[in-house]
């Protein structure tokens, strides 16, 4: 049973990681805590729902369309809201994303009603059995994709010219600008990319989760814990943080009670803030929002 629990925890970690990477990226590069992250997730899941409803597209298939759309919407939101707010102060940006979160939630409530929606695809009930261990297929897919994204994104940030310019901007906005990097373009790209990554997560969890306007609120708390634990802005950190939280979730849920999980998450959250504010894989100083 222990082996089963560990396997469950790791796979669950994959799901948590895949919905957290976008938040970590945006935070790391732009020093913005995107409080609307959960709503981005919620809207991408609605996208998957409507694609299934009208075109009978499996969420994994409709992701091909929804992810690029999410990129464009993310970029537009940056242009219209985040960019102007960033010119003011850090608190304006925080208020802007909190406001955006409420706008999107109420917009979803208005447009799509408060009904619970689900995408009933067979993968939700499928599993692979190895010996006495059950591996849910939907979790396995999420885990593999989360790991792939982590590797690809890491390579993108470290090996390509655009990636280097993103990292340079992260490290020192002014110096990067002096070196001829277009900071605005980099931010636009990052916010779009972060939004696209959330949409990937949304498509992957759609088969087993119920979709409703307030869904983002439930999911986003865990994303914050993971990003803080892994290290703000660190992509491998978000992956690792996801796995650790997944394991804690499974182990605490099994040996103690499902009720205690939520408490444990936030105890960890607070402990990390005090002991190692930059997180497990974060660069020292990365926790200082809005100072750079």
């Amino acid at each position: 049973m222990l082996l089963q629990i560990i396997m469950t925890g790791i796979l669950l970690g994959g799901i948590y990681a895949v919905i957290s990477i976008g938040l970590s990226l945006i935070f790391g590069v732009m020093r913005i805590i995107n409080f609307a992250h959960g709503e981005f997730l919620m809207i991408s899941m609605y996208g998957a729902f409507w694609a299934f409803q009208y075109f009978h597209l499996h969420p994994y298939v409709s992701a091909v369309v929804i992810v690029p759309i999410a990129f464009i919407i993310g970029a537009l939101i940056y242009k219209a809201l985040i960019h102007p707010a960033m010119k003011r102060s850090a608190s304006v940006v925080v208020l802007a994303t909190v406001g955006l979160s409420l706008v999107l939630q109420n917009m979803a409530l208005f447009l799509w009603k408060s009904d619970f929606r689900t995408v009933p695809v067979p993968i939700a009930g499928m599993n692979v059995q190895i010996g006495s261990i059950y591996i849910p297929l939907s979790s396995l897919v999420a885990f593999v994709v989360a790991s792939l994204i982590t590797v690809v994104l890491w390579m993108f940030l470290n090996k390509t010219q655009i990636g280097r310019s993103i990292r340079a901007t992260t490290q020192d906005k002014q110096a990067a600008q002096l070196m001829g990097i277009n900071v605005q373009k980099t931010f636009l790209l990052t916010f779009g990319l972060g939004s696209a990554l959330v949409a990937v997560g949304g498509s992957l969890i759609t088969p087993i989760f119920t979709i409703f306007p307030a869904l983002g609120v439930n999911m986003v708390m865990i994303c914050f814990v993971i990003v803080v634990l892994g290290g703000l802005g660190s992509i491998p950190g978000a992956w690792l943080g996801g796995i650790i939280i997944g394991l804690i979730d499974a182990i605490a849920g099994y040996y103690f009670s499902a009720e205690i999980k939520q408490i444990l998450f936030f105890v960890i959250f607070i402990a990390i803030m005090i002991v190692k504010p930059a997180g497990l894989l974060g660069v020292k100083g990365s926790e200082e929002v809005g100072l750079k």
């Binding site: 102007p84 409420l102 009603k113 408060s114 619970f116 689900t118 009933p120 009670s257 499902a258």
Partner: protein
């Protein structure tokens, strides 16, 4: 960069503005009866409503309100009450207990003499307390926690069945129907209770535990979880290890759908799943597809045999269903019926009988009601307990998903079908 600055200011204003309005009431916007003009206390009878129109329980809240609006429409067509048209003032408790209390306060300040709500048990408690303090009648249509009518309040009334009713029906059904079908003595059944951990789930869990004890049975474990949990696989694994025959569960659609999908993923085989509210929602049926078949649910009756209703109530029932389907392009849910039933009782029976909106007259009128079983759209009779305010003639029934439809299976007199799929076939054989 003047333009940039302007848009930054705009962004902030937009953010703040919506942050405030997002939490605000929807007063006026949703006033029923199609009248947009602001109502003076003198020319309209104003009734406050306090349902969750946003947040996690918005689904039930909006269904309640949609039902209630049709009750107002029907009554207004017949000339209203006390010779005046009825207008609703709708507040949003946002699925949040603190909000429920502050919005109740606000409705009372705005002049509401009667408030109908609340869906969420955790909000029903503080909101009715505010009403009691202000001598305002609080009529509950949907929340189930026993505590609401355990406090000796004078002006709190509840039409719907309680957590205890649900727990009792589930246990009686398990004892009298499932145990013989499974060929296991009731006391030997391995039963686990699982529930979401707010006031709602906890009160139903308590009720189930108590009902088990009263019937000489017991649960081998009781599992609590947050309805906001992002994963329930550890609970599934824990249950798999305990290997119970029967699971008694109460929760909300998202956690119930997630749980049952993960039960299949991890091959958790139960002999029966008996819900104690939540499982008969259409959204649950849609979310689970064929996996939903065989699941039982003990809760306020939905889809009972309408032949059991009094003739004029049956007519009202059919009028409501027709009007609801036309207006909202959806079939009414249990919550729609509950909202309609409570508002109709208030406007058609309680207020006319009281002859005014004076709280003590309303209380007297409510207590004097004596409607036999089959006398309201959900089949309940009405007899409010003079000490608790609870409708003693409300009851829970047991329903089952059969061929993707909800059928009533227990007690026999309201049944539309026999219980089937006992024991549940294993996942590998479905």
């Amino acid at each position: 960069m003047k333009k940039g600055k302007v848009s930054a200011v705009m962004a902030t204003i937009l953010a703040l503005g919506l942050a405030i309005s997002g939490c605000g009431t929807e007063t006026g916007q949703q006033a029923a009866g199609g009248s947009g003009a602001s109502a003076q206390a003198s020319d309209k009878v104003m009734i406050g409503t306090l349902w969750p129109l946003s947040g996690g329980s918005a689904n039930w809240g909006n269904d309640n309100l949609n039902g209630a609006k049709l009750a107002v429409e029907l009554v207004n067509e017949k000339g209203g009450v006390l010779g005046k048209q009825v207008e609703l003032k709708n507040a949003d408790n946002a699925s949040d207990p603190a909000k429920a209390a502050s919005e109740a306060e606000r409705l009372i300040q705005d002049g509401a003499k009667v408030i109908v709500g609340t869906v969420i048990s955790s909000g029903a408690l503080p909101a009715s307390q505010v009403a009691e303090k202000n001598k305002v009648v609080y009529l509950e249509a949907d929340a189930v926690t026993d505590d609401m009518t355990n406090r000796g309040f004078k002006y709190t009334f509840r039409l719907n069945s309680t957590a205890s009713d649900n727990g009792k029906a589930a246990v009686e059904f398990t004892k009298n129907v499932l145990a013989p079908k499974l060929g296991i003595a009731p006391a030997d059944l391995k039963i686990v209770i699982s529930h979401e951990d707010s006031a709602y789930g906890t009160s139903v869990g308590d009720a189930a535990e108590k009902a088990l004890a009263e019937n000489g049975m017991s649960a081998i474990a009781r599992e609590r979880y947050s309805a906001k949990a992002t994963d329930l696989s550890s609970l599934v694994l824990k249950l798999k290890n305990a290997n119970p025959d029967i699971l008694l569960n109460v929760g909300y659609t998202p956690d119930q759908v997630l749980f049952w999908k993960q039960a299949k993923q991890y091959d958790l085989n139960l002999k029966a799943l008996v819900g104690m509210a939540g499982w008969t929602l259409q959204a649950t049926g849609d979310g689970l597809g064929d996996l939903v078949n065989g699941i039982f649910d003990a809760s306020a009756p939905v889809g009972i045999n309408t032949d059991g209703l009094a003739p004029e109530v049956k007519e009202l029932h059919d009028t409501f269903v027709k009007k609801y389907t036309e207006t909202y392009n959806a079939t009414p849910s249990l919550s729609s019926f509950e909202g309609f039933g409570a508002m109709y009782l208030l406007l058609n029976d309680i207020i006319p009988k009281a002859g005014s909106l004076e709280p003590d007259k309303l209380r007297e009128a409510a207590l004097s009601l004596d409607i036999p079983e089959g006398g309201t759209v959900l089949g309940w009779g009405v007899k409010f307990n003079s000490e608790t305010g609870q409708n003693d003639r409300a009851f829970a029934t047991v329903m089952q998903w059969q061929e993707n439809k909800v059928e009533t299976v227990f007690p026999e007199k309201f049944a539309t079908k026999e219980p089937s799929m006992v024991p549940l076939p294993t996942w590998s054989s479905r």
